[in-house]
């Protein structure tokens, strides 16, 4: 007797849990404050774990950063970190900000298309952004408009491709 063919086994994709959001009092106060200060811009205020996330349009970055630094209630005098994350279709530029006096923190995010990654430079706001932007240009190919010297920083002159990106042939790459 022939057995009926078995139905193909459904493989259950493991569920990926999301990290819970746990903003403290300072964080909740700050997100209300940011909504108030940046009300003339198109911003989206959210949260990731313990940090206030402000998603902005790439063309507004420079103006918003200027306000974030100069506004006495925000007082983001210190740019902690500037990083680029590759999400295949878009590149996300993250600005981690911190206020040394008020001790609150936030992260600004701007998404740019991978084909034409253009973000205004914030070097006029924080001088410390200089090398971080050069690194972002070097490894991810993000063009920071207005940066005076976007020459290779970590890579050597004439290096082709952007090794930070996911599309870079990483494990197959052999130079030596």
């Amino acid at each position: 007797m022939e057995q009926p063919p078995r139905p193909p086994r459904q493989r259950r994709e493991p569920e990926v849990p999301e990290a819970p959001v746990a903003l403290d009092e300072r964080g909740t106060a700050l997100s209300a404050l940011i909504r108030d200060v940046l009300k003339e811009f198109e911003v989206e205020v959210g949260a990731a774990v313990d940090e206030v996330v402000v998603t902005v349009k790439p063309e507004d970055v420079s103006a918003i950063c200027r306000i974030a630094k100069d506004d006495p209630s925000l007082d983001f005098k210190y740019l902690r970190c500037l990083s680029v994350v590759d999400y295949i279709e878009t590149l996300e530029v993250n600005y981690h900000l911190f206020s040394l006096d008020k001790r609150h923190k936030a992260v600004l995010k701007a998404s740019v298309p991978t084909e034409e990654p253009h973000v205004p430079s914030v070097i006029s706001v924080w001088r410390g952004a200089d090398w971080f932007e050069r690194e972002g240009h070097d490894l991810f190919g993000v063009v920071f408009d207005g940066h005076p010297n976007l020459t290779p920083l970590l890579l050597y002159e004439g290096f082709e491709g952007f090794p930070g990106r996911k599309s870079f042939p990483f494990h197959e790459y052999d130079e030596w």
């Binding site: 990290a19 774990v49 005098k77 970190c81 981690h96 923190k105 090398w131 870079f168």
Partner: protein, 373 residues
């Protein structure tokens, strides 16, 4: 008279000098091009990247437990501090509770590593200003600490000891007596080092008032750690955003006044004393217990992103971790304190004497492993 007039009208051109990459005072492979007008530096241009290994990208291809070994190799004189930063980031994402004893072991080892790192700075800074003896004193103390590390972690430098959720194993039985001896030795050693160099007249002449940077500029450049505190800004991540169990300890944060080379040097010497204070308190508070939380062997943090800052011996060591829920990090960005501190070099070197260039570079205490990553 005529000679003087000639000198006044003679054309001068700026002379370009290349320093490094293989220069003993650059503490690694680092090149700085300086333009000098006579004895004064007109412009300085640092070039980095000689040690770029793509650590951030490498991390994307490793399991979370394997990434720790890569972090050892970032700041290679303060390995445990780097390991701690990464493990804290993963733990924060997973919302893990670390057992108390593990946290105490971490703090004790990290503070010891801070002393070892500052001792290295003390020694080589002596060499930078032209004194031979300090490096012998500095390395003597550092060797003692590394001997203890070897007995605890099995390695002198690349420890791979701090794990996600705790530490690799409990301390040996002989740790406490050894630590008691070490604390006494270090206390004496730090005083000896301080006596030897800090108030030496020639040392003062080489470092006082040299390479000053004000608090506003320092913050603008993103300078952190002892270099920022030397400029008179009270900012220490252990105080402003206490991580791990640092809020349980009572310790001081030394702050400088002028932001010159001597302040940057002395803040570090004083920090070593404060680290000893933390270790003493931690030794007294530590109780027996488990040293690792119950974590799956292959950690899979939930989807999300987290930014953790810790106070490494060089400053604000940040880890930006983006996870997509898999067993490997999606993106890992290391905010290295030396990287940001080194940016200020262009500012510090301007208008300095060319003979002071090495003294200024030495005082910001860079480690090329984390500058280039």
């Amino acid at each position: 008279m005529q000679v003087q007039q000639q000198a006044r009208t003679a054309d001068t051109i700026d002379l370009m000098i290349n320093m490094g990459p293989q220069h003993p005072s650059t503490h690694g492979v680092f090149r700085v091009v300086i333009w000098v007008d006579g004895e004064r530096i007109v412009k300085a241009e640092p070039h980095i990247g000689y040690l770029h290994r793509g650590s951030e990208k490498l991390c994307e291809g490793e399991l979370y437990s394997q990434v720790i070994t890569l972090f050892d190799r970032l700041d290679y004189v303060a390995n445990l501090n780097c390991e701690l930063a990464f493990c804290l980031a993963v733990e924060k994402l997973m919302a893990l509770e670390v057992p108390d004893r593990a946290s105490y072991i971490r703090v004790i080892l990290c503070e010891l590593n801070r002393i070892a790192s500052h001792m290295l700075f003390y020694g080589v800074y002596g060499l930078d200003v032209g004194a031979m003896t300090p490096i012998l004193y500095g390395f003597r103390e550092r060797e003692r600490i590394q001997g203890l590390f070897e007995s605890v972690t099995g390695a002198r430098m690349m420890h791979n000891f701090i794990r996600v959720g705790g530490v690799k194993e409990d301390l040996r039985d002989d740790f406490e007596p050894r630590m008691a001896v070490l604390l006494e030795e270090l206390k004496q050693g730090i005083e000896e080092c301080d006596d030897l160099l800090s108030q030496n007249e020639m040392f003062l002449a080489r470092t006082k008032g040299i390479g000053t940077i004000g608090p506003t500029e320092a913050i603008d450049f993103g300078v952190t750690g002892p270099s920022l505190r030397a400029s008179g800004v009270l900012e220490d991540v252990r105080i402003s955003e206490p991580y791990s169990i640092y809020e349980r300890f009572d310790f001081g944060v030394p702050v400088g006044t002028y932001g010159d080379c001597w302040d940057r040097y002395y803040v570090r010497v004083e920090e070593m004393r404060q680290s000893l204070k933390i270790i003493e308190q931690a030794m007294a508070q530590m109780e027996p217990g488990p040293v690792a939380a119950n974590v799956r062997r292959i950690a899979r943090p939930p989807k999300g992103e987290v930014y953790v800052r810790t106070e490494s011996p060089r400053g604000d060591f940040g880890v930006f971790l983006v996870s997509d829920g898999s067993d490997k990090p999606y993106r890992l960005k290391v905010r290295a304190p030396s990287f940001a501190n080194l940016q200020a070099l262009q500012y510090l070197l301007r208008d300095a004497y060319v003979a002071d260039a090495v003294v200024i570079l030495g005082s910001i205490d860079i480690i090329l492993g984390e500058v280039d990553r």
